[in-house]
């Protein structure tokens, strides 16, 4: 089995996780910028984090033969301070040429506030001006439905944005249809408690097909499972999916979306 982990917050994980992922068939990992569990106090705090994502973490992954890519932004959880967000966003262009940077993400909304909307629009503008792929975080739990619709409307309002260059992550049964209908890619996050369980993710694939869908573990410092994708592949196999069909979802689909960034290249097998 081979798979891509398209959304893993590896700075929160141990090297044991890298070893387990590679052993299970992980061929590349992509790390969106994330909230640290506390609000960073300055632009320099973000510069340090971006350096971790673009320099230190790829080197750590390389020790296990795993290509590491990343996405840059200020996470929606830190969007209430619009001035700080604007300063952080202004610092991102100088990093976009780094070899492992795939685009802008994970941007989006958290509590669906007015300031979060402003910062989302600033991120979308940044991506459009620099022709970057976009990875979108949709809110948690009771806020997801409303936030997803607000995000879709922001993206639709900017005519520079090509829907197939945007992946909207953390979809569930009540949001997946509206994301796919807008022409975007959709991501299902495999969490033990919130978001999708493996069984529900395979249900969504059964109902909506696997054309523009990927799965991720979004493993971070919270309750999450770095091997969630291979475990879901096992679930697919139990339900009669062929090895080819599984490979299409967990390996080929991420490559189809991510290869829209010319920097996403895997070493020859």
């Amino acid at each position: 089995m081979r798979y891509i982990e398209p959304h893993g917050h590896m700075v929160s994980r141990t090297t044991d996780d890298y070893q387990d992922m590679v052993t299970a068939g992980c061929a590349a990992v992509c790390e969106p910028a994330f909230w640290a569990g506390y609000d960073r106090s300055s632009v320099d705090g973000f510069r340090d984090y971006f350096r971790q994502l673009t320099e230190y973490e790829p080197a750590r992954a390389a020790k296990y033969g795993l290509p590491h890519f990343c996405w840059l932004c200020i996470n929606p959880k830190e969007s209430e301070d619009v001035k700080l967000a604007a300063d952080v966003i202004a610092a991102i262009p100088e990093l976009l040429d780094k070899p492992n940077v795939l685009g802008i993400g994970e941007i989006g909304l958290n509590k669906n506030s007015r300031n979060e909307m402003k910062v989302l629009e600033m991120h979308v503008d940044l991506a459009a001006r620099h022709d970057q792929l976009i990875l979108v975080h949709t809110p948690h739990l009771e806020d997801k439905l409303k936030g997803t619709q607000l995000i879709l409307d922001v993206l639709k309002a900017d005519s520079r944005i090509h829907p197939d260059r945007v992946l909207i992550d953390h979809v569930e049964e009540h949001t997946v249809r509206r994301v796919l209908d807008r022409g975007h890619w959709a991501g299902m996050t495999l969490y033990p408690i919130s978001k999708c369980t493996p069984a529900r993710a395979v249900d969504i694939l059964d109902v909506y097909g696997g054309e523009r869908l990927w799965m991720n573990s979004a493993c971070d410092w919270g309750e999450s499972v770095p091997l969630a994708i291979p475990r879901t592949a096992l679930e697919m196999r139990r339900r009669g999916w062929t090895a080819e069909a599984i490979d299409r979802v967990i390996y080929q689909n991420p490559i189809r979306f991510l290869s829209q960034c010319p920097k996403f290249k895997l070493p020859a097998a």
Partner: protein, 88 residues
């Protein structure tokens, strides 16, 4: 998959979760003090399980969701509770 195949794969897991739901509600009943909006939302959402309607998972998610459409003035914090407080 056939229905017997689905049952073979998932019945025991679903049975376990259903009993967990009952035990959770019993636990809440045994607790002291007033419950909050989450229990009301939970009881409302449970109606979808026995409704016989298709798309039960979607209906459950919608039952817990904020149905409004306008951004809120200021984020009250960072976390989510799993149910929309204003739903009564």
């Amino acid at each position: 998959m056939t229905r017997p195949q689905v049952l073979d794969l998932y019945f025991m897991d679903a049975r376990c979760k259903l009993i967990e739901l009952g035990a959770f509600l019993d636990r809440v009943d045994r607790g002291s003090g007033e419950a909050d909006f989450r229990l009301d939302a939970f009881r409302d959402a449970m109606k979808h399980l026995s409704s016989g309607e298709p798309k039960r998972a979607e209906a459950l998610l919608l039952a817990f969701s904020d149905p409004t459409t306008e951004p809120i003035p200021v984020a009250p914090g960072k976390g989510a509770t799993g149910a929309w407080p204003a739903r009564r």
